[in-house]
């Protein structure tokens, strides 16, 4: 089977297989920008492989050369000369005619918290602060239940019953409500960070996080200190996540 020994066909097969694996083999689908990077690496590797010795390189070039010069490949050559410019022209058209999309909003999702905040006229140190309700293990289930009630009456509209950020109001909000199930949110934050975010809400964000866009209210107007700590307990309990601990001094 000379067909399978052709270096050109081998190279083409590897590239096509790599593309199929990247595009259809991974769920959820990988973004195009990532596929492009991987394909570039595959192409480079294939190129190094086929050019590793002169026999291989000749075998790789043979079909390309014959397509370019052999008289009996005239039809294929002519077809390529028409099809390739048309494809490139179509690509240029699709680029020129594309409608612009909304600009991406780059914002710091978890900005550095302040060392301390003013909470209802009292200074609260965020740095090194732990949830005071965790000290009494006996009352913990009760506190979690109280937090659940606060959550369902206040937070569920945006953050959802599943705590996944898919509440009923989520479709109109940009940035979208936080997904507490995501290991990239509350699981990597200390509880006092959550206290700061809940107490001060969107308006309390620093500029790099776009305080003008976040629909998160400043809950210090509605919830006192204990109730905020209770709802934080509930967030971790309901998602099965654990808060990040302060590093031991």
């Amino acid at each position: 089977m000379t067909l399978f020994r052709s270096r050109f066909l081998q190279a083409a097969a590897v590239v096509v297989l790599a593309f199929c694996a990247l595009r259809f083999g991974i769920q959820p689908p990988v973004p195009w920008s990532v596929i492009k990077i991987y394909l570039f690496v595959v192409l480079a590797a294939v190129f190094i492989y086929v050019s590793s010795d002169s026999d291989s390189w000749r075998s790789f070039l043979a079909p390309i050369r014959s397509t370019l010069v052999d008289p009996d490949r005239r039809v294929l050559r002519g077809a390529l000369m028409i099809v390739v410019p048309l494809l490139v022209g179509y690509y240029a058209y699709s680029q020129a005619a594309a409608r612009p999309e909304a600009p991406p909003e780059l914002r710091a999702v978890h900005p550095a918290p302040p060392a301390s905040i003013q909470f209802r006229g009292k200074e609260l140190s965020i740095q090194g602060l732990d949830n005071p309700l965790r000290k009494d293990a006996a009352t913990l289930p009760k506190q979690v239940a109280a937090g659940g009630e606060i959550y369902i009456r206040n937070c569920v509209y945006c953050h959802g019953d599943n705590l996944d950020g898919h509440g009923r109001f989520a479709p109109a909000l940009n940035p979208p409500p936080a997904n507490f199930q995501d290991p990239g949110t509350i699981a990597m934050l200390q509880e006092s960070y959550l206290f700061w975010r809940i107490a001060k809400g969107g308006p309390g964000l620093p500029k790099e996080s776009g305080p003008w866009s976040s629909a998160m209210p400043a809950w210090e107007d509605r919830l006192d200190e204990t109730r905020i700590w209770q709802v934080i307990l509930y967030l971790y309990d309901a998602t099965g996540q654990h808060p990040r601990r302060w590093e031991a001094k």
């Binding site: 050369r65 019953d161 009923r168």
Partner: protein, 497 residues
């Protein structure tokens, strides 16, 4: 730690949903007709208390801590009355209850619980049934439907005739926008007012948007609500399918919400008439609106959930065409808690180059917003605001607003000069932050009690250039020439060798 507004979590979610659907299908295929598998109520209880009781109550009476804030109210399981069923008997099948838990009740606060395992969901079904064991004594009988009739112009036409013949319009309205004459008298089995479904918004149908779902609702009726079974009131049994096909033709299955509004560049005049053919040439963008719950009074159950927006501009003016559903054109009467219907478009006072903008909720004391407003009976006005209760009308506004109200729908054209000194100027090619607010005065919405969006974008498209017709042929020609050159060079090399 920066990120854009990516789409991958949603893709993951839809993949999970698909997986849930597939496992459901597998379950239906595996168990004969899906009626047999039963869960364990004792195991269901633990999950119920944790996940369902906050709304439905520990006793299953629909009086959980959140219940009073929700409209429609959570189901009272102790009555054993359920809306969605595919049975001709009173109670739903296990499969019906499982489907509601899995898919949620669209248009209400009941979310889909597809991420719970099927065993867990079946256990919860068993526990829910245990709240009203008497209702489930009788074995469920599947509701038979006549052979499927697929949608066709004839079927839709016949469905439309039947729609009026069996008086769907009395509650659902002539064009299906939940504005029928009986709408204000409707009560559920518990004596609470209940709204008819808006048939143009299929994505809010509690039992699903497909013609098959609609036909089943028509055949079984919706228990606990004034919606009766129509299987015996239509002329011929297959009319059920014609009506279902007609209802499905009233609107899309999904709203495809947008976050960018593009204003079309126009040479001629911008028509003031909202029904002018001109506006039909521009595709609308559907903008989702949600309740304002930051400042008091909070609006947990907003009346207006969507505005369809079109925009166009010429060298002098910019015009916005807004379409939204509202069951009544209300005349203000504060004694009855009825206020004027209204909408407003919000922009930053000055459109800057940076990402900074005023607070999305009508600005704050530090930075205000500009509002282009329209109020029923008052027309178009302009204002600046430093928060939802600090609105200052702008004197000498030249904005115009022309609205028509028909069959439960407002259509409005809001227009003003495009470039101004005292208000935001709109230039082609620039992304301008825009936000929307709406009030259904008939539902008691006024002031901060409104529905709204966070910041979206408006962009005036650049006047059509012929670049996209010139560049591509040029690129194609150049590619062809380059290829010819390669072939020639290759041939010359071969000859030399």
């Amino acid at each position: 730690m920066t990120k854009g507004t990516g789409g991958t979590p949603r893709a993951g979610r839809s993949a999970r949903r698909l997986a849930a659907l597939l496992s459901l299908l597998a379950a239906v295929v595996a168990t004969p007709a899906g009626w047999a598998a039963t869960g364990d109520p004792n195991r269901g209880r633990e999950l119920y208390d944790r996940r369902c009781a906050p709304c439905h109550g520990v006793k299953g009476d629909g009086n959980g801590p959140a219940a009073e804030l929700l409209d429609p109210r959570p189901r009272d399981f102790t009555t054993g009355v359920f809306k969605i069923r595919t049975t001709s008997t009173k109670a739903p099948s296990d499969q019906d209850l499982l489907a509601v838990i899995t898919n949620g009740m669209p248009g209400t606060y009941m979310p889909p619980w597809g991420e719970l395992s099927e065993t867990d969901r079946r256990n919860v079904v068993a526990y829910i049934k245990a709240f009203a064991p008497d209702r489930f004594k009788e074995a469920p009988t599947p509701q038979a439907l006549p052979p499927v009739v697929r949608a066709s112009p004839e079927s839709v036409k016949r469905g439309r005739e039947m729609f009026e013949a069996i008086e769907c319009n009395k509650c659902h309205g002539t064009e299906g926008r939940a504005d029928g004459p009986s709408r204000s008298e409707l009560k559920d089995d518990w004596g609470r007012p209940i709204k008819p479904a808006n048939l143009t918004k299929r994505w809010t149908f509690r039992g699903g948007p497909a013609p098959e779902d609609i036909a089943m609702r028509l055949a079984t009726g919706v228990n606990g609500t004034p919606m009766p079974s129509f299987i015996d009131s239509v002329e011929k049994p297959e009319d059920i399918w014609h009506v279902a096909n007609y209802i499905a033709s009233l609107g899309p299955a999904s709203p495809n919400y947008a976050t960018l509004v593009t204003a079309a560049a126009v040479r001629g005049a911008l028509p003031d008439d909202p029904n002018a053919d001109f506006w039909k040439t521009i595709a609308p963008e559907n903008i989702a609106l949600v309740g304002q719950v930051t400042v008091d009074p909070r609006n947990f159950n907003p009346a207006i959930d969507m505005v369809a927006v079109r925009a166009a501009y010429n060298d002098r003016e910019i015009a916005f065409h807004l379409t939204w559903d509202d069951a009544t054109q209300s005349t203000p009467d504060p004694a009855k808690r009825v206020y004027a219907d209204a909408v407003s478009l919000q922009f930053p006072v000055t459109v800057g180059a940076g990402p900074e903008r005023p607070y999305f909720l009508m600005g704050d004391d530090a930075e205000g917003v500009y509002l282009l407003r329209w109020e029923n009976g008052k027309g178009a006005t302009e204002a600046t605001a430093n928060g939802p209760t600090k609105i200052t009308p702008m004197p000498g506004s030249e904005a115009t607003g022309t609205a028509v109200f028909r069959n439960g729908q407002y259509r409005l054209v809001l227009k003003r000069a495009r470039v101004r000194k005292d208000a935001p100027a709109f230039a082609p090619g620039v992304f301008v932050p825009i936000a929307f607010q709406a009030w259904d005065g008939g539902a008691g919405e006024t002031g901060p009690k409104m529905s709204l969006t966070s910041w979206y974008y408006l962009r005036l498209e650049e006047p059509q250039s012929n670049r996209r017709f010139v560049v591509p042929p040029l690129v194609a020609l150049l590619t062809g020439a380059a290829m010819a050159l390669i072939v020639r060079t290759a041939r010359r090399w071969t000859e030399n060798a």
